[in-house]
Symmetry: D2
Subunit: 312 residues, 4 copies
C-alpha cells in the first residue's frame, strides 16, 4: 500500500519541525521545506532538504507535512490567501499535521481539506526537539485508514513509533491525554523526590534508581537533569501545560469523565502560574513541592544522563 515514490513538502522549520524534516531527508524523502523565516529553512539544506521560496511551491508535492505553533498558524498556512490550498485544482493529495491543536481546530481544517479533495491526517507527536534528534519521537495518527497506510512509511522515518488510533481527529484527544499524564507524573516525581531527599537520599541517586526501575520512562530520564541541577530552562512552560489541562478537563467535562488526579494536578500547575514563574520549565513543580515541604533545594553537582544522547 505504501508508495515509496511520494514527493514530500514540509511547512514549519522551527527547532522541532527542522529536526523532523531532517530525519525525512536522511531517510531519502528529500522534503522541500518552507518556513516563514527563511533562514531556518535554509539551515536544513545541509542535511538534504531543499528550500521552497513560497508555500505555493509545495502545492505539487504528493504529501505535505505541517509543524507549526498552533491553530492560527495552521489555518493560515493551509487556508490563507497564499496558503497551500488556495489554488483550486492544485493541491497535495495528503496533508499531515503534526502540530498540537485542539480537536475542534483539527476538525475545521479537516473539513476544509475535504472540500478541496485533500486527505488530512492529524498526527500529533510526543517529545521535544531533543527527543526527535535522539530518534525517540512517537506519533499518534488519526484520519482515513487508507491514507495512513499510504504515508505510514514516511511517518516511521520521524521517530521510533507510529500508532494509528482511529478516524477523524481522535489523535488530538490521545495527545491531550498524554499531556495530562506528563503533568501528573511530574507532580508525582516532585512529591517522591522531595520525600526521598528529606529522608536522606540525594535527588541524583533517587532518580537514578527510578529511571532504571520499571517506572522509568524516556520522560522521567530527560526530566532528571532539571530535577538534579535545578536548571529550569524551558522545554515546556507551566502556561502551556495549564492550557493542556484546560483542554483535558474540558474533555472530561464534555464526556462526563471525572478525573480526580488530573483535576488536582491542574490546580498545582495553576499555582506555579499564580507564582509568576511562567517562563521557566514546568519542572518548577519540584521547587513548589519542596517549598510546600519547607525544604530549600540546592543544585546537586552530579552528572545526569538525560537518556537522549547518541540518537539514532
Amino acid at each position: 500500500m505504501a508508495d515509496n515514490d511520494l514527493t514530500v513538502g514540509w511547512i514549519g522549520a522551527g527547532r522541532m519541525g527542522a529536526a523532523m524534516a531532517i530525519r525525512l531527508a536522511r531517510a531519502g524523502a528529500a522534503p522541500a521545506v518552507w518556513n516563514r523565516t527563511r533562514a531556518k529553512a535554509e539551515a536544513t539544506r545541509e542535511h538534504g532538504c531543499t528550500v521552497a521560496d513560497d508555500i505555493a511551491g509545495l502545492r505539487d508535492r504528493d504529501v505535505v507535512f505541517t509543524m507549526v505553533s498552533g491553530p492560527a498558524d495552521l489555518e493560515s498556512v493551509l487556508l490563507g490567501a497564499d496558503g497551500l490550498l488556495a489554488e483550486p485544482g492544485r493541491a497535495p493529495a495528503v496533508v499531515v499535521d503534526c502540530s498540537t491543536v485542539s480537536a475542534e481546530s483539527s476538525a475545521l481544517v479537516r473539513a476544509q481539506c475535504a472540500a478541496r479533495g485533500v486527505q488530512f491526517l492529524a498526527a500529533p507527536v510526543s517529545g521535544n526537539a531533543k527527543v526527535v534528534e535522539s530518534g525517540k519521537l512517537s506519533i499518534a495518527v488519526s484520519g482515513p485508514r487508507e491514507t495512513f497506510d499510504r504515508v505510514a512509511h514516511l511517518l516511521r522515518h520521524l521517530g521510533r513509533a507510529v500508532t494509528y488510533v482511529g478516524e477523524d481527529d481522535v489523535s488530538r484527544l490521545v495527545k491531550i491525554c498524554h499531556n495530562l499524564m506528563l503533568g501528573v507524573v511530574t507532580q508525582c516525581m516532585a512529591e517522591i523526590t522531595v520525600l526521598a531527599e528529606k529522608g536522606g537520599v540525594s535527588r541524583a541517586a533517587f532518580l537514578d534508581f527510578l529511571n532504571d526501575s520499571v517506572m522509568g520512562s524516556v520522560f522521567t530520564r530527560y526530566k532528571s537533569p532539571a530535577f538534579v541541577h535545578l536548571d529550569y530552562t524551558p522545554t515546556f512552560t507551566p502556561l502551556l501545560l495549564r492550557k493542556d489541562f484546560d483542554l483535558g478537563l474540558a474533555l472530561g467535562r464534555e464526556l462526563d469523565v471525572p478525573m480526580p488526579l488530573a483535576a488536582l494536578t491542574a490546580q498545582l500547575v495553576q499555582q506555579t502560574v499564580s507564582s509568576g514563574r511562567v517562563t521557566e520549565d514546568f519542572a518548577i513543580l519540584l521547587d513548589q513541592q519542596a517549598a510546600a515541604a519547607g525544604l530549600a533545594l540546592k543544585p546537586e553537582d552530579t552528572p545526569v544522563d538525560d537518556g537522549l544522547a547518541g540518537g539514532s
Copy 2:
C-alpha cells in the same frame, strides 16, 4: 574491589526468589538455595543451583541473599533458633536482603547483623517475577559502601540496573517512593484511558501509543494487557498497594512532606479495598474509574505485548 570468588547462598525460592537465584546460577555464581518448601528449591537445580538441606548449610557461604515475604519471615530465617545467624562464630560475611520490609524492620535486622559481625545490605527490587525473567529487574541498595562494592557484581547479575542510594536503610524509603509512583501512575492511566475510550479510542490503540511515547515505561507496558483484556489476575493486590501508601504517607507525615497526589490516590486505592475486590490485581483501579465515568468496560480482543518477552 569486587571479589569474583565469593560463595553464595540464597534463602527464599518463591516465584520471584527462584527467578533471581536462577539468574545468579546462569551467571556462574552457583548459589546454594534453601526454601521452607523444599520442592521449590529443588526446581532451581536444573538451572544450576544447588539445594541446601537446612539454613545452617548456608552459614559458611560468603554472601547470603534473602528474598522472603515480609519482616516476620526475614527475622525468622536470620535470627530464629535455626536461623542463619544462630551459631556464634559461623556466619556469612554479608547478608543482602531483597525483600520488601519497612525501614524499621530493616534497621532492626541490620543491628542484629552488626552485633554478630555481619555486614547487611538492604536491596529492595522493582519488578515482579516476570520482570526478573525478562532481565528488567532493578535494585536500590543501601548499607556500607564498601560492602556494596564487594558484592555489586552479584547484584548486577540479577537485573538491568543496580543503584547504590546511601547508608543504612534508605533503600527502603526509595522503594516506598517508587511504589507510590506505581499507584499514582496507574490511577492516572485509568483516568486517561477511560477518557480516551469515551472519546472513541480503543484501549489497545491508546495504550499502544502511550507505551511507545516518552511516557511509556516497563510498567505501563506490562500493565497494558490487564487494561485491554480486563484480566485482573493479581500480580499486586489493592491490599498490598494500600500498605505501601500507608507507609509512604506515614513517612510524609514524619518528614513533614505534604503529598497531595499521593494522598488522593491512597483514598482511591482505599475505595477498591472498600469494594471488597481485594484478591484481584490493583489494575481494577481501571474498573473503578470506568464505573465513576458511567462506562461499562468490555474486554478488547486485541493481542497486547507486555514488553517482557524474550528476556535476557
Copy 3:
C-alpha cells in the same frame, strides 16, 4: 435615604419568586406581580399582591424586581420586544435582579439598563423557597451604593440579611463562591456521616450533634432530612451544582486562584452526573460516598427537624 413610598413591581412568580413577592406584600409594599403563566401570579393575590396583565403594566413602578430562571429569561423580560425597558422614556428607576446569572450576563443587562437611564442592582440570594418562607433568606447586592441605599429597606423585607458587597456585578461572584462552599460542605458531610455510621453512630444522631455544634448552619440543618431519610426529592440538582462549579473554577482560572478542594469536589459532583442520577437532589453525594465505602444505606425512621418551620 430610603424612600418608603416606592411603588414596586415583581417579575417571576415561580415558587421562589412568589414566596419573595409575598414577603414584600406582607411588609406593606404591595407589589404588582407578572408571571408568564398567569395562574402563578394570581396565587399571590390572597397574600396582598396585585397582578399585572403584562410586563408593560410594571413600567411605571419605581422599582421592579426580577426573579427568573436564567440569563435568557432575564434578557427577555427586560430587553425583549414586550420587555420592561422596551418603551423609551417609560421605565422604572431601579431594576433589582435576584436571579442566578453569570457576571457576564449581569454586566450585559446592567449596560442595557444604563443606556436607558435605569439603575440596576444585582442581588442574588442564598436559600430555596422554603428558606424564603422561613424568613432565612440572605442577599448579596452589588451596583451603585446610592441605589442600594434607596431600596435596601425593600430588600430587607425579603429575608434575614442583606449585604452590600460592592460595585457592578461582584455579587454574582459572591454567589458563585457561596455555591462552591455548598458543594464542598455537602461532600464533607457525606464523608463524615458515612464514617460515623460505619463507626456505629446513626445518621440522625450524628447530624443532630453536628447541627447543634459550631459547624451547624441553616444549610446543614435543612439538608439533614435528606441524609437521614434518603429522600432525594430535588431542591438543587447535580447538574445545577456542576454548572456553578464550572463557573467557579473558570473564575479561579481567570483570576489565577488555585482551588484544590473546590476542584476535587467538582470531580465528585461530576461523578454523580456520570452515574445518570441527574434529576435527584445533589444530596446523592451521600449515596455515592456510602457506595465508595462499601456501605449500603437504609432510610432511618427518625423525625428530623429541617430548621425551617415556623418562619418569620
Copy 4:
C-alpha cells in the same frame, strides 16, 4: 429520671474548664472544683463554685466532670495514686469526661471505671472557651443511656445542645468527624475568600454575606475576625488540627471509608506545619491559600462581629 439533687465535682479549671464549671455554678449545681494549679480553681469561687483541696475531696460527689488536656492527664486524675478512683469503695457514681481523647484512651478509662463500679460518660464538646461563655457550646455524649438520662440536666447547663449519640465511646468518633469538618470548611473558606478578594470583594463584605447566608455557622462567624484582620492569635493550632486529621484518617482506614476531601485537606494542613508556623491559629490556611494564588493579603480595618458577644 433526672436527679436534681446530685452533688457535683469538677476536675480541670483551665480557661475552658473554668468557664464550664462556672456555668454549672450559675445554674445552681455548686460544683467543687479542683485544679493542679490551685489559683485557677480559686478564680471560680466568685462565680459560685467551691474549691477542693485535693482530688480526694471529690470522691464523695455523685458526679464528677473532667476537663483536662489529654489522655495522660485524664488517666492521672482518675487512675493515679492520688486519683479520683484510688480509694476502694469511695468513688462518685458517675464520671463525665469532656476532654478530647482518642476512642482507645476513652475505652481504657471506661473499663477502669467499670471495674470500680463507676459509670463513665464520654462527652467531648464543640467550641472554645469563648463559645462556652457565649452559651453556644454543644456536647456529644456516649455511654450507658440510663446514666446519660440521669445527668443530662447538668450537661444541658453547659451549653446550648446536648446530643446522646450512642453506647460506649462513639462520641469520640463523632468529635473527630466534627473536627475534620472544621478543617475542610476552613480550607474552603480560604479558597473562596481569596477568590472573592481577587475578584474585587473585600474579605469583610464577603464573610459578612457568607455568615448571614444559609452556609453561615457559629464557626464561620467566630473565625471571621481572623480572616479579616489577619490576627492569628491561636485558638487551635495547625499541630492540633493535624493530630485530629491523623485520628480521622486512621479511622477512615480502619473502617474502610475513603475520604478524598478530608485526605486532601490533611495535606494542606500538613503544609502549614511544614512551613513552621505551628504556634499560630490554623486560620493561617488563609495565608497559605493567598500565597498560592500570588496574593499579598493586608489586614482590613473593618470591625467584625464574632457572633459570641452577649452570651447567655
